[in-house]
């Protein structure tokens, strides 16, 4: 697979997050979102993660968002368990250091709050680098957010010296031919199935010797997620092994999750909101 057009993988559905998502969103009636007879409303919130807060780990992010919700004084549902946890679900963990233009959480509310008001209250209670930008109620019967959002679109910059985009392309193609990627995460060996997770890439023509920019589409695999940084460093490793020059001068990466979506069984892509 070479230079797959992103559009061919995600035809016109996976789009960068827009500031004006409030306009034209589906208006789901609150009464269909009740749970076990009790009125429970499932509010989906889209937010960004950027600036230095890109370095928050997933657990740190969860704790931070929960505190934002409390500060916003939204009528969130409290679980019945020992820990009395807030009823909130998050989209799949971002790698530490990666920013995002489209993260989501689903918050269970015990009272209906106008989504615009909820968004305003959240916005005033959230650090700017995690600012929410859209909110809407969704059907409570949807699967858990983490499992439901199974497609992602990424923008990556590789920074360094003496970089060559054809070396990156060579590395990606070689990896795709091998169909899987093995790497160590801490003490654990992870095997990523590239046939099911590596959906496409497009290297920017404006790439230079100091910066290769490319876009990447990934699909979720519950066994192991494909992380852009892992893909890049594996491409670097195999290129070096094969004597392909042009990736040895990597200094740092900038990775941004641009959008997330749900791919249904029949291949349709559905926006989170």
């Amino acid at each position: 697979m070479t230079d797959v057009q992103i559009e061919s993988v995600a035809p016109g559905v996976v789009e960068p997050a827009k500031k004006d998502w409030r306009a034209g969103r589906p208006q789901i009636q609150p009464e269909i979102m009740t749970e076990r007879g009790a009125e429970i409303f499932r509010l989906r919130v889209a937010y960004k993660k950027d600036d230095r807060l890109a370095f928050l780990g997933h657990l740190e992010l969860i704790g931070t968002i929960e505190r934002c919700v409390r500060r916003a004084q939204l009528p969130f549902r409290v679980g019945n368990g020992f820990a009395k946890r807030m009823g909130v679900q998050f989209s799949q963990a971002l790698p530490v250091g990666a920013s995002s233009e489209a993260e989501y959480f689903d918050l269970k509310l015990t009272k209906y709050v106008d989504p615009d008001e909820a968004l305003d209250r959240l916005l005033s209670a959230t650090p700017p680098a995690l600012a929410p930008f859209a909110a809407s109620y969704v059907d409570r019967s949807l699967p858990a957010l983490e499992a439901w959002l199974n497609a992602a679109h990424w923008r990556c910059d590789i920074l360094g010296e003496g970089l060559r985009s054809d070396a990156l392309r060579w590395g990606f193609e070689d990896l795709l031919a091998k169909k899987e990627l093995t790497y160590m995460r801490g003490d654990k060996q992870k095997v990523v199935n590239l046939e099911t997770t590596f959906a496409g890439y497009k290297i920017s023509e404006s790439s230079s010797e100091t910066c290769i920019s490319f876009e990447l589409d990934t699909l979720q695999d519950p066994r192991a997620a494909l992380r852009p940084a892992v893909l890049i460093y594996e491409a670097q490793r195999i290129a070096a092994q094969a004597g392909v020059d042009g990736l040895q001068g990597i200094d740092s990466l900038k990775v941004c999750r641009v959008s997330q979506a749900h791919v249904s069984e029949n291949g349709l892509l559905v926006k989170p909101l």
Partner: protein, 621 residues
């Protein structure tokens, strides 16, 4: 030349992908004060990693007080973990503040919390990483003034060569006065020496360079400090004491961290000081008198603090929370208001009686976790020696009450190596724990667990045991084995603290100004983060001591003459030496002293010396 003040986060950011927990270095937390223009800049430092230092209530209080003061801006800094420190040195990046990412060396004042003795090498590490001359005497007019303060100032001599001034006691007002003194003095263009002289005139401020150490036959081998000839510094510096806690902001912690910190909850200081009079407890002697905050203020502060912070837990902190005369009312009121919002209330210590268990019950959720009590000693004789006014009946009724209310896990804290301790006293520890376990099994069946944690006693300054020598490491290890072999119930879990750490802590608690050489050598040997089990290196400490002709064991185990002048006599929390001597003798006679907040004055002299009084909001019971 003064280091330039500029934001250098751009130097930190590229290192973040390569270090553990990058969230330690991010700043921009909710509630953090944005960098102010100043023009006078102060940086408060806790010389340990972010998650240990950020919950420190003292720094939070002072951060707020300084940022409220006109012309002053206060920022925070913590010691980077070893991976980040190594990278910073490699890339020649100095230690930066959090808020403004400015070099520490560019600040007017840098203030350190002396949280405990084992933080000493970290203070050196911090100054070194910041590029600030380590010794006060090496600093020139352009260098920041280095202040110290906090709970461990009561024998500050081993670290005073690092400091320009040490604040004794409460800092809310005093630190603001100190900074104002430096600011106006600098505007006047006076010399650093004159600034130090002026600082010494503020009550509670000890300027070490104005004192010299005298060794003679009236003192211990560490000597004693007297004002230098010609200096107008006081012969004894008494601590600063805030007479009324209710005038202070009850919500000190306005900053909500991103990362999990060691006490990850909203802390409300509901009272300051404790008059129980436990003879091993330095805080109990040095934070007197007792000052309660009014119940209504606490309840309101809890409500407001939780809304503004978003925390889901509030802790009512103090040295003895359940002693507050309105404790029952506060807990019941907060519990009824907050529980339905999924907010937990916690109290850091439970009183060892039925009331303590009742209060623990008042704050618990429907399912019980663990409950912690601190009998401190196993035998009644030993508890009388240390003035832990808890009887066997109190202990058993507290345990019975707790188990009957559904608690199934209990943790008990004890010490070993206390003065007059015998093998029978050690054997009494598992015996009393076994009785509690039996009560638990009788009520709760086989699922009940009782665990015991035993620390080695370290004698501290300004306690009735300040003259006592610590037991040797070998003896501590023997008693630890005796403790284990005296336990005949496999259901009872016994753990004890590392005696090596206690040895170094004991030595640093005894030494005078000469102790700095030991700390410096230890740091040169690679010692830092000594309070972390993973980082503590006893061999490096021993090597440092040997190179100076010291023996850590000899220093820690030395008994001082009760009449001798002590290395810390010139810095006083207001407790009289006569009272401490009387308490020592009563300890030897196994005679207890009551708590003056429950009975009448017991003559510690704090109120008379500092012209303050206990402030109680009701009758204690």
């Amino acid at each position: 030349m003064r280091v330039k003040r500029e934001n250098l986060f751009r130097l930190i950011e590229p290192m973040l992908p390569h270090v553990e927990k990058p969230s330690r270095y991010l700043n921009h937390e909710w509630g953090a004060v944005e960098e102010q223009e100043g023009p006078f800049h102060v940086c408060m430092v806790y010389a340990d990693v972010y998650e240990v230092g950020q919950p420190n209530l003292g720094i939070a209080i002072l951060y707020n007080a300084l940022n409220k003061a006109p012309h002053v801006s206060c920022e925070r800094a913590y010691l980077p973990w070893v991976d980040m420190a190594a990278l910073m040195r490699k890339r020649n990046v100095p230690l930066l503040s959090l808020e403004g990412a400015a070099p520490l060396a560019s600040f007017d004042v840098v203030g350190f919390t002396l949280a405990h003795e084992m933080i000493a090498t970290n203070i050196i590490e911090t100054l070194d990483l910041a590029g600030i001359p380590l010794l006060a005497e090496e600093r020139d007019e352009e260098d920041p003034l280095i202040f110290g303060g906090g709970p461990s100032v009561w024998n500050s001599e081993p670290v005073v060569p690092l400091f320009d001034a040490i604040l004794l006691g409460d800092g809310e007002e005093a630190l603001v006065e100190m900074c104002e003194c430096v600011r106006t003095s600098k505007l006047e263009g006076v010399s650093r020496q004159e600034i130090l002289q002026r600082l010494s005139e503020i009550q509670g401020v000890y300027v070490p360079s104005l004192y010299q150490i005298v060794h003679d036959n009236t003192s211990t081998r560490w000597g004693y400090a007297v004002p230098k000839e010609g200096s107008s510094a006081p012969s004894v510096v008494y601590k600063r004491c805030l007479p009324d806690l209710s005038v202070t902001d009850p919500v000190a912690q306005r900053i909500v961290p991103y990362t999990e910190i060691v006490q990850d909850r909203l802390a409300l200081e509901i009272q300051r000081g404790c008059a129980r009079g436990c003879r091993f407890c330095q805080a109990g002697m040095t934070y007197r008198p007792v000052r309660e905050r009014p119940a209504q203020q606490i309840v309101q502060a809890g409500e407001e603090g939780l809304l503004k912070s978003g925390y889901d837990e509030v802790s009512l902190t103090s040295l003895s929370t359940t002693d507050h005369s309105q404790c029952g009312y506060i807990l019941r009121r907060m519990n009824s208001d907050l529980r339905k919002r999924g907010v937990r209330i916690s109290i850091p210590s439970q009183r060892m009686d039925a009331f303590g268990a009742e209060m623990a019950d008042a704050v618990s959720t429907s399912r019980r976790g663990g409950l912690t009590f601190a009998p401190e000693a196993g035998s009644q004789r030993m508890r009388d020696v240390i003035n832990k006014n808890v009887s066997e009946d109190d202990l058993e009724s507290a345990a019975r009450n707790a188990f009957e209310n559904g608690w199934r896990r209990m943790k008990l804290y004890f010490m070993m190596g206390l003065p007059t301790e015998t093998d029978e006293d050690i054997q009494a520890i598992p015996a009393v724990a076994k009785r509690i376990l039996d009560i638990g099994r009788e009520i709760g069946g086989k699922g009940v667990t009782v665990s015991v944690s035993v620390a080695v006693f370290v004698p501290k300054s300004y306690t009735p045991f300040q003259w006592v020598g610590q037991i040797s490491r070998e003896e501590a290890q023997r008693r630890q084995q005796l403790l284990l072999s005296s336990n005949h119930d496999r259901g009872l879990k016994i753990a004890y603290h590392d005696s090596g750490t206690s040895l170094v802590e004991g030595a640093l608690s005894k030494m005078g100004r000469d102790g700095f050489d030991l700390i410096y050598r230890a740091w040169k040997n690679g010692c830092k983060f000594d309070a972390w089990t993973s980082e503590f290196n006893l061999d490096a400490w021993n090597a440092a001591a040997e190179s100076l002709g010291f023996s850590l064991s000899d220093i820690a185990t030395e008994t001082f003459d009760i009449q001798a002048k002590l290395p810390w006599d010139h810095t006083s929390p207001g407790v009289s030496k006569g009272y401490l001597q009387r308490e020592y003798r009563k300890a030897m006679d196994e005679v207890t002293t009551p708590d003056c907040t429950f009975t009448s004055c017991t003559g510690c002299a704090v109120c008379q010396t500092l012209k303050v009084d206990n402030v109680l909001m009701g009758v204690r019971s």
